[in-house]
Amino acid sequence: MKHLRILLIFLLVLAIFSGTALGWTPVTITDDSGFESVIESQPQTIVSLAPTNTEIIFALGLGDKVVGVTEYCNYPKEALTKQTVGGYSTINMEKIVAANPDIIFANPMNGEENIDYLRQLGYTVIVIQSDSVEGTYAAIQMIGKCTGTTAEAESIVSDMKIRIQAITDKLTDVTEKPTVMHAMSVDPYWVSGSNTFQNELITLAGGTNAFADVNGWGVVTLEKLLTTNPEIILVDSGSKMGTTGENTLQKAFLTNGRLSSITAVKNDDVYVMDSDTFDRSGPRIVDSLEQLAQILHPEIFGNYAEPESTAASPGFGAVLIISGVIGGLFICRRK
């Protein structure tokens, strides 16, 4: 009996303590644009203005609170069912006002004037810029802090850190770091240079960026590509419109006779990276990193199995246009 009373008191104390923990204490956040906002109560409705933010918000288990996303937010699947409020810099203010969110997670790509306008309308706008692995951790933690999901944020971050650590640990003794080119376009050759997110992932996965002398993203000439001679080529898969990027880029590298002397082409080491994970600094960067580590160091991480291509073929559009032209000619002749 006495034991039971102690247990009851213990439970009561626990309940009181957890009760205060659930209550919201206002938090002051300085976002990545240097703007300070105070969040007075726990946000119940959220608008995300970038795919990265959307991925983080859903990963934190806040999917139900999301009332608006961009047209580029395609992950997770549930995000596709949410109301879209526009693209990056083409935000529909009216839709945001209609959604009336407690908090908006924006990105510098939304444009300063849009962000300022939203703030003038009285919304709490948190600008999040995550273009590095560290930045991704910070982004997850900041969104966690703003929404009262600090514990979830910490667990995601520590999970990511463990997985990344597992990769880097295995690579400490590796001295042979293949040169890697990341191409987003072949006409012209548009590559990721130093100070890019892709450069960081390539380095973390035990590679060297073949075009580290290019700062940011830049165009390199065919001559430079041939003389640089990368050992591995990564190409972007397409997403959203122009989804044909996937096959055409890889094919362009493998079938262009002038590129046949490049080591990566000779060894058939041209890989398609899912641009949604590889170019987007969300929680899934670890997936990209693990994939990349396999591509660069199969001797450590096992052979890389390329996923099935999911991109739409250009065939449909071509058939449509050709049949349209033939139809048009036919109609003209009938007249």
């Binding site: 012209p188 390199v220 002397s261 071509a318």
Partner: protein
């Protein structure tokens, strides 16, 4: 104006030939003929540099020729090869190919777009078998504005392929190869037709009425010249995108030296256009990060032109 403008032609030709040799030796990799890594240098010269150089040469000649003819035909110093909507049409065609077909058949679409837009302008401005120069200009501007609205819409909706359209519109010889050069060879072939009509152009510069009285079939001449220069421009656009300023400025600069006689002005413009674009492209491809050649031609061409204009007015 020079005392013997005809002597300008061999002089320009010599400069052109020397330029070809020099630019072939220049490349971002720093490898030149003196480097004895024979296989690589062989490949760089014959498969990478030469196609680009010759491509730039032919496109430069074509744009300058078309610009020269358009200026003569419209008797308007603002005329350039793109004046009647050719570039916007080409850009729209290329953008459609990029967005809907993932870049497949882009040169073909650019050509169709460029040719179709000009033909539309041509049909609009024709009335009773006659075609007024002013109507042609104005309908060119109208069609061009309409097409650029469509282009803006496609660019706005293009999402991830926006950068590709941007690259294309700024113009460049990124991936020139011998098959592109083969296509570009149509340019000098068509330019021969333009040259045949250079005397008629001289007469038409007096005014259309006067030209008719002097026995020039102005309607036929106009049609042929327009069609041929549109063809040249469309080929140039489909190969290298929209490269501005060559077609506008080169004929003006050459006119300062040769005077208004199209028999000399036309070939001189073609040679000078080749030289300019060849060097501009060499500059573009030797930068650490390649720059679209259209930016360079505008960047260098415009101030130089202003300088020439000021100098001429002072004398």
């Amino acid at each position: 104006m020079l005392r013997h403008p005809i002597l300008l032609l061999p002089a320009l030709l010599i400069v052109l030939l020397i330029s070809i040799v020099i630019t072939t030796c220049i490349g971002v990799s720093g490898l030149s003929l003196l480097t004895f890594d024979s296989e690589m240098i062989h490949k760089l010269i014959f498969e990478v540099r030469l196609p680009r150089i010759i491509g730039a040469l032919l496109v430069g000649a074509g744009l300058a020729a078309a610009g020269c003819v358009m200026q003569g035909l419209f008797r308007n110093p603002m005329a350039d090869p793109y004046i009647i909507g050719t570039s916007t049409g080409g850009a729209l065609g290329a953008a459609c190919a990029i967005v809907f077909l993932g870049g497949l058949l882009m040169p073909l679409f650019a050509f169709i777009g460029a040719a179709a837009s000009t033909i539309t302008v041509y049909i609009i401005s024709q009335r009773n078998g006659r075609m007024g120069v002013e109507t042609l200009l104005l309908s060119g501007i109208a069609v061009s504005l309409f097409l650029s609205a469509m282009l803006s819409f496609i660019m706005y909706m293009s999402g991830n392929s926006l950068h590709q359209i941007m690259f294309w519109m700024m113009g460049g010889f990124w991936n020139m190869y011998w098959d592109d050069v083969g296509l570009a060879l149509l340019i000098p072939a068509a330019a021969v037709i333009l040259y045949i009509f250079s005397r008629d152009l001289n007469v038409m510069a007096l005014g259309e009425e006067e030209a008719i009285h002097l026995g020039v079939n102005t309607e036929r001449t106009k049609k042929i010249l327009l069609m041929v220069s549109t063809f040249i421009t469309a080929i140039a656009v489909s190969i290298s995108g929209c490269i501005g300023f060559v077609g506008l400025i080169i004929p003006h600069i050459m006119r300062i030296f040769t005077g208004p006689d199209h028999r000399i002005l036309l070939p001189a413009s073609m040679l000078a256009g080749s030289i300019l674009l060849m060097w501009a492209d060499t500059f573009a491809r030797t930068m650490p990060v390649e720059i679209p050649v259209g930016i360079i031609t505008a960047f260098l061409g415009a101030p130089f032109f202003i300088y020439l204009l000021r100098r001429r007015t002072r004398v």
